[in-house]
Subunit: 313 residues, 2 copies
Amino acid sequence: MSVVEPQATRTPGAARTAQAFEDWMRAELQVVEARLEAWVPAETPAGLGEAMRYGVLDGGKRLRPLLVLAASEATHGVREAALRAAVSVELIHAYSLIHDDMPCMDNDVLRRGKPTVHVRYGQAQAMLAGDAMQALAFEVLTPQAGEGAVEPALQARLCGLLARSAGHAGMAGGQAIDLASIGKPLDERALRDMHRRKTGALLQASVLMGAACGNCDARAWAALADFGGALGLAFQVVDDILDVTQESHTLGKTAGKDLNDNKPTYVSVLGLEAARRQAADLRDKAQEALRASGLAGTATLAQLADMVVERES
Amino acid sequence: MSVVEPQATRTPGAARTAQAFEDWMRAELQVVEARLEAWVPAETPAGLGEAMRYGVLDGGKRLRPLLVLAASEATHGVREAALRAAVSVELIHAYSLIHDDMPCMDNDVLRRGKPTVHVRYGQAQAMLAGDAMQALAFEVLTPQAGEGAVEPALQARLCGLLARSAGHAGMAGGQAIDLASIGKPLDERALRDMHRRKTGALLQASVLMGAACGNCDARAWAALADFGGALGLAFQVVDDILDVTQESHTLGKTAGKDLNDNKPTYVSVLGLEAARRQAADLRDKAQEALRASGLAGTATLAQLADMVVERES
């Protein structure tokens, strides 16, 4: 059962739209996979590339790349830039999972239905693979002569957005709060702050990097930032719900992990029903932000927001 | 005793030049320290910034920033861009030391005369601090509105140079080779390839990033790349020599570590005397490259190359 009632059962004519969205998603996922396949190096000394590829290919929902591409579509963005941005955010996401799974962090052995990178290749190689993937994200954003051209000012802007979402004020900062809050009671505000950084910052950056590839006035930019913020938080609320309501084989990762690790979650702080309502409210907030953007082509972004709250894994 | 006979004993008039170099270095180090102090965040949630600051402030020779600034000087570079590049390379260097010292890698407890970051703050925080420092390097290279202005095309170029030197084909790749070669006999060629990546890539990038801040034609660029390559290798040869000839308290890190870890070094592969000759040859090669650059103001770069081979710690 999904966390929130599917859009398709609520809106007349939504089934046809849903099919178009499925088609869009399938086509874009193929492109993203092909770019990842091409850009994450197969030939490196000492098997580093093999560990990198293991950590990022053949798995994952690719939500962040899809957000980049949908936001770029909504702003008539430059395709090559958007594809590079899409791959870069997925590389940052994948590196964070590799490091997060390590014994000194969450000590998880299962990810996307496979043994985690450190289980397969050892801790040292896993750490290096993550480090190299973070660097690779910025390599992808700065194509050299002979690679696909992206206007230098846009390269710089994308690098700046990505770095700030991944760093101390964003993802890495959120992970530090996560670490420090194990076994501690957090109120909803502190929990929200942690997740805004840990998960939300990169999801929001995905939307904004896509928008940066196109034409986006200040009003649309602010609205897309709101959209990305609400969607990022909704994603985490749903994650916390799925952690207690689904089995490991459905999730492709260890279920009940947060509870066992004594980590505060939306479910432990709010209770299951209030968490479900929170997810639905955040979806509504995200949709409202899209309407406020004044952009014409935001249907795909709206469907991605639905997907985030309606997913079952 | 220094590894290679000091320049000052060989060249008439060199003592006066040496004083000017000392003055330049003292002044520039102050500027670099002040920028690091300002840009590595003190206020972050969950103590992440504290671990980052511990890992990069109050220590280190700052060779990489000095190379950036000297190369920028030689090419009449934009000062703000060069300072940002200088800080960014030091952040990458410092993050690599934090990760390298961790138990799953070199398991070292002493660095710059202090307990290593994971000893002081725990492994998880050390890994996150390193991750956040890599991101911060790219934040520093992409100043936002209200921060010091750097032309966007230059921002993009600096990000590209830094990412490629830090990633799978550069530093991280070299570390993977290092890991894989413990206890294995390497010939000189394989050892050189490892060090060109592990240490050399970032040192060379420091020179080139400095040059990118200024005016540098293709001939000068190629010559500076040669200079950076030779200097990078010389640095490592000297490091290997010092590892067996100096005490821990002089080095500020554990002496004899490579030998104990059964790692191939220039000393173990070539022997001590041949390693000293190699260092001197590489210094000469570096100086020759500077002459070939056609640039007028390379005296400081030349003195940095001397310093690299003549250092005692």
